[in-house]
């Protein structure tokens, strides 16, 4: 279980990015955090990843405080962030560099096979398409078999078809080890398609506005009326969250 308790984050320039934030994520849960830009959702993810520390409050994984990056927590960024001087296999091996060479090779090929990239292992990052590069980044985050997988708008720079493909793929991957997943996104449809629970954040200062547990069976269908209903509700919440009351029908187009 991951717990965020009364967390504040103030940047050195004085901006209060998060204020009094509380959040509990159960083991194996898929949580989506949505919100407009500047609502602190990426800041929150960085704190959970241990890349940044909160100004006040506490973040703990299974009771142990998170104060620095931890091996049980995997991270996928908005960009693939592959090292251009390493092949795909070498990039994936980054995550398990402490293992012995034989075991490492085995785990890397296994991980690349899981994301459907087995045939690309010897390639340079520059030779991959955007979707392939993000798959490789997923393999790198998963190769260490993390308990928690954090995803910071992982598919936002991909085209719609590749994005849909990878969203389904992510669910398949989750099915293997069932890690806790926290997904930050500005795409409501993505949040609803993937998450067990969707949290809406609002800015100035960043805090949680509402949370929704979509009453939708899996596999989810983006054209299902219930799905669309949930989407409309979230859009309304988001409209309020960013201070603009949008017309629900117009917003759902």
């Amino acid at each position: 279980m991951l717990s965020v308790t009364q967390v504040d984050k103030r940047y050195p320039n004085g901006v209060l990015a998060l204020a009094g934030l509380n959040l509990t994520v159960a083991a194996g849960e898929i949580l989506a955090i949505v919100g407009g830009s500047g609502c602190g959702k990426s800041t929150l993810l960085r704190l959970i990843a241990g890349l940044d520390s909160p100004t006040a409050g506490r973040i703990a994984l299974d009771g142990t405080p998170v104060t620095a990056p931890r091996p049980e927590i995997g991270l996928v960024f908005q960009e693939p962030r592959l090292m251009p001087w390493l092949t795909i296999a070498q990039n994936v091996a980054f995550g398990i560099r402490h293992l012995q060479a034989g075991e490492r090779t085995r785990r890397v090929s296994e991980s690349l096979a899981r994301v459907g990239m087995a045939s690309q292992s010897g390639r340079w990052p520059r030779e991959l398409s955007g979707g392939q590069a993000q798959r490789a980044a997923l393999a790198r985050a998963l190769v260490g078999r993390p308990k928690v997988l954090l995803l910071d708008e992982p598919f936002s720079s991909l085209d719609a078809l590749t994005r849909g493909d990878l969203q389904e793929h992510l669910l398949d991957l989750w099915g293997d080890d069932q890690p806790t997943m926290i997904l930050v996104t500005h795409d409501i449809e993505e949040a609803l398609f993937l998450a067990d629970r969707v949290v809406v954040m609002q800015p100035d200062p960043g805090r949680i506005r509402t949370a929704m547990v979509p009453p939708l069976a899996r596999p989810r269908d983006r054209a299902d009326p219930d799905f669309l209903h949930c989407k409309r509700r979230l859009l309304t919440d988001l409209g309020h969250a960013s201070g603009v009351a949008r017309h629900p029908v117009a917003a759902s187009v």
């Binding site: 990843a49 241990g50 890349l51 620095a68 990056p69 931890r70 091996p71 991270l75 960024f77 960009e79 962030r81 090292m83 251009p84 001087w85 390493l86 980054f94 995550g95 560099r97 045939s119 690309q120 390639r123 340079w124 990052p125 520059r126 030779e127 991959l128 398409s129 979707g131 392939q132 719609a160 078809l161 590749t162 849909g164 493909d165 389904e168 398609f193 596999p219 989810r220 269908d221 983006r222 054209a223």
Partner: protein
Amino acid sequence: MNTEAISAAGHAIATPSFAAADAPPSRPWSGANRLIGLILPLGLALAWETAVALKWADGRLLPTPSRIVATLAGLAQSGELTSHVLATLQRVALGFAFGVAAGTVMGAVSGYWTLARRLVDPTLQALRNIPSIAWVPMFILWFGIFETSKVILIAVGVFFPIYLSLSAAIRGVDRKLVEVGRSFRFSHGEMITRILLPATLPTYVVALRSGLGLGWMFVVAAEFMGAEEGLGFLLIDGQQTGRPAVILASITAFAILGKLTDWLLASVSARFLTWQDSFKPAE
């Protein structure tokens, strides 16, 4: 749109893109392309040779290429050329090795560690601007007239471009890649060797090449301070005995050796840079 449609379409799009991601066919370096670079020097040499042969110009102060070649051949025959070349090569190699080692360590440390940078960078920047010749008398006093002072002078010349480029390049490494290292809990050493140095390799190679070029310049200054052999000595000897052909033979040897070592360095390092996704001008 339903999910099956998205998925099916996604696969259909993804499959041909594997083929499209294939590396572009490598351009074979044809022999003719390499030889283009010889047109300019050979053309100029030929023009001067012709001009002197036709008495349009006087070849006394600027000897013809054939006389320079003959001088080089004579020096080679007597064995002098080999000993001069070897003496100079050894100084450059040693000076370059020490300069590169020191410049790399200091550059990496001051690029990575702010306190070290604040401590040493201002001093090094001040020292950098001292002309090499200014050191000569002091180095002779401190390290004697023989090889040590010469190698140190060359090392000093090589040190600065390496130090400067590497420390600046480390500060220019993409924060996002460094963050990946942080998320995998890299130690400081791992961060430097596994992310910062590879990321700065393209800049580092250019720094090595300019360092090597400076090494060749500083070796002349070094050999001015009382050497008994070496191409710089040959040059001084030609000057003192009034033989321009010897001076030009020494200069030609410097040019050829400099070009060869630079080519060697560039082609060895190119093998480590195949990953670069850089601009390749059209032929």
